[in-house]
């Protein structure tokens, strides 16, 4: 019973994550502005990867789940920081180009 429930939860999380990743790739294709692309990347890709990692609950394996939780923590910390670094670099480059 609990195994079926975990399967359903994992599959739904996997679906959500893949949808978010697809939105991220689609955003990279459809949007031409740097900041718009960063919007798609930062808001869709990080949570997408986190959802795919969170679907490890369906494996019911302690080592897999703990490593996936570690990965979720790292992605949650690094994804916004790298988005911010890219945005800062783009902004500074724009500013130095205008002078």
């Amino acid at each position: 019973m609990i195994s079926i429930l975990l399967d359903v939860v994992g599959s739904v999380l996997l679906l959500v994550g893949l949808l978010a990743l697809s939105v991220g790739v689609q955003g990279l294709f459809r949007l031409s502005d740097t900041y718009h692309q960063l919007h798609a990347l930062g808001l869709a890709t990080g949570p997408g990867v986190m959802a795919v990692l969170a679907s490890s609950v369906a494996t019911e394996d302690a080592a897999t789940i703990s490593l996936a939780v570690l990965g979720i923590i790292f992605v949650a910390i690094t994804s916004p920081v790298s988005s911010h670094a890219i945005a800062r670099a783009a902004h500074r480059r724009d500013q130095s180009g205008e002078q």
């Binding site: 991220g24 890709t45 997408g48 897999t64 890219i86």
Partner: protein, 89 residues
Amino acid sequence: MPTAVLVLASAWVTLLLVGGGLALLRAGDVVHRIIALDLLAALVIALLALVAYLRAEPYYLDAAVALGLLSFVATVAVARHIGSGGPVE
């Protein structure tokens, strides 16, 4: 999790990787290329996680975590390089 779901998901992430590679080739600006490479790293992390579930081997997740941290350091380093001309201001 059913194996069919995992295989389908892996195939879909592989398709997304191809799409991300096309976006990388299409990018005309350096910043766009950095964004595309960041996205590719995220997709490879997801693919490694799916392979770990599929083969029931947690070791692939070690590689996923290491790749995530490496891509973070690489992205920040390149962004600093472009934004200010070097890692140190």
